[in-house]
């Protein structure tokens, strides 16, 4: 076994997977109401009524845990000049033929865009979700706001799910990534190759 580098602590991993599980349950129960083609998904949560009842409670758990995780990762997700340079080479990267890439830190610009997309979407989902939460909260809001909220919720959910599809695919595509979240470590070669500036930084300390 070659050298390993620590990427996520056990707490960060637990937090990530708690968010992930909530998200999947929310996507299932939400999509069930989104379009009739997905209504069958409501069976997975015990039927349409249970999906409707459980969804917002899971949503609140997700929002709390997501922002807990996001607070930890906030500063590492600021976009740098190296990221912008790196982005210009995205075509080559996707074709697996990129060499001599700009040295980027712990996250690449795709990961950072994902981060900020989710920060915005989850905030919108939480706020709009409370407005359309029957029977507890909706009666307190004017109908125009409810209509706006239900639309905003659907749009934000679509964007968030799209972002997560890309997120999951990236993890599958870039070999050696998944273990960062399952085991907490990545190989040194992986770190050097994908996140050289981050690799240098952690080696400086040791």
């Amino acid at each position: 076994m070659s050298e390993l580098v620590k990427r996520y602590t056990a707490r960060e991993r637990a937090n990530h997977w708690f968010v992930a599980l909530c998200f999947i349950l929310l996507a299932i129960s939400g999509l069930a109401l989104f379009h009739p083609a997905f209504f069958f998904l409501s069976s997975l949560l015990g039927g349409g009524t249970w999906s409707r009842i459980l969804h917002p409670f899971i949503g609140v758990l997700l929002a709390i845990s997501f922002f807990g995780l996001a607070a930890r990762l906030w500063t590492q997700n600021r976009i740098s000049d190296a990221d912008r340079e790196w982005k210009k080479r995205l075509g080559d990267i996707l074709c697996n033929k990129a060499g001599n890439l700009p040295e980027i830190g712990k996250y690449n610009i795709g990961q950072k865009y994902l981060f900020w997309t989710l920060v915005v979407c989850i905030a919108v989902l939480l706020l709009s979700g409370i407005v359309i939460w029957q029977p507890w909260f909706t009666p307190y809001f004017p109908i125009v706001l409810v209509r706006l909220a239900v639309l905003a919720h659907a749009v934000a959910a679509f964007l968030a799910i799209l972002a997560i599809i890309i997120h999951i695919y990236s993890a599958i595509w870039v070999k050696g990534s998944i273990r960062a979240m399952t085991r907490g470590t990545v190989s040194a070669a992986w770190a050097r190759h994908h996140h050289p500036a981050w690799y240098k930084e952690i080696n400086k300390g040791s």
Binding site: P36, A154, Y169, V174, G176
Partner: protein, 290 residues
């Protein structure tokens, strides 16, 4: 279908066409406000036929009782005192309840298959056993009609007595109305009947008398004869040009099939990218991929 008289032409959250080969009579209820004396016999008849008992409320200084529609009160009389001409007080009494829209916003918004159905005859009916209690129908309705029950979390509203109409009876409110302000029949007959009433009202000085059958929702199967059809707002805020809110149309229109298609496409794009470009591996570390 169990009852031909209730053949369903539209069903919530259903993308295929329900059976529509038969075309039974299109029905309508006509409410002639100029004849209504506000006796509320129709409210009582509705409670009785549908076996509903609302909680006893409190007096708030108007004749409106109960104050609003509820899961137990599917129709309420709304009393408005207006002076259309200065010095000439008019008491306008509007029987409020579901309008049975030809283009029902409630049905469009509902995500639960079969929770809201529209019969070919025009009745829009809620099938509570399929309702999941999300309240989207409230969001979709331009007339603020559906009400969620605190008891079971399901939504209720006027059924136009679909159970009576199915077997050739008129709705309970029609049967009980002592002045003939409420009439029921084919939509065509009701429009003809209304025309007679409107001509009569015009003769008696109501120059703006007219029929309320708003085009914005494709017409309705509950129509009003109004003395002041140019100002329906006078009648406890009856909307002048009701239509399904553009926000609801945007939310429930073509965007959702497109968005669903987009999500599917994203998954497929990933699959084919992997199968063509292959995984992104780090050279020195091939043996340690996870």
């Amino acid at each position: 279908m169990a009852l031909q008289s209730l053949d369903i032409k539209a069903r919530s959250a259903t993308t295929t066409q329900p059976p529509v080969v038969r075309d039974p009579v299109h029905v309508a209820k006509l409410i002639d406000i100029s004849k209504c004396i506000g006796c509320k016999a129709c409210q009582v008849a509705c409670m009785e036929w549908n076996d509903l008992r609302d909680e006893v409320g409190t007096t708030t200084g108007t004749y409106d009782n109960p104050r609003d529609l509820t899961d137990q009160s599917w129709t309420v009389m709304r009393f408005s005192e207006v002076e259309v001409q200065p010095g000439r007080l008019e008491w306008l009494i509007r029987k409020d309840g579901c309008m049975h829209c030809e283009d029902p916003g409630c049905l469009k918004a509902c995500p639960a298959p079969g929770a809201i159905v529209q019969s070919v005859n025009g009745i829009v009916d809620f099938h509570e056993e399929h309702c999941i209690g999300c309240g989207y129908c409230i969001t979709g309705c331009p007339f603020n009609i559906p009400r969620i029950s605190k008891k079971d979390g399901k939504v209720y509203k006027c059924t136009l007595c679909s159970d009576r109409v199915a077997v050739g009876l008129e709705p309970a409110c029609i049967k009980t109305c002592p002045t003939g302000a409420l009439v029921f029949g084919s939509k065509r007959d009701m429009i003809a009947h209304a025309e007679g009433r409107i001509a009569d009202l015009k003769e008696r000085g109501y120059a703006n008398a007219g029929l309320y059958n708003p085009e914005g929702v494709g017409g309705t199967h509950v129509m009003y004869v109004l003395q002041h059809a140019d100002q329906p707002e006078l009648y406890a805020g009856l909307p002048k040009d009701p239509h399904i809110s553009p926000m609801v149309s945007l939310w429930k229109g073509i965007t959702k099939p497109l968005a669903s298609f987009g999500l599917g496409l994203a998954v497929l794009a990933g699959f084919f990218h992997y199968m063509t470009a292959g995984p992104n591996e780090v050279e020195e570390d091939k043996e340690h991929t996870s």
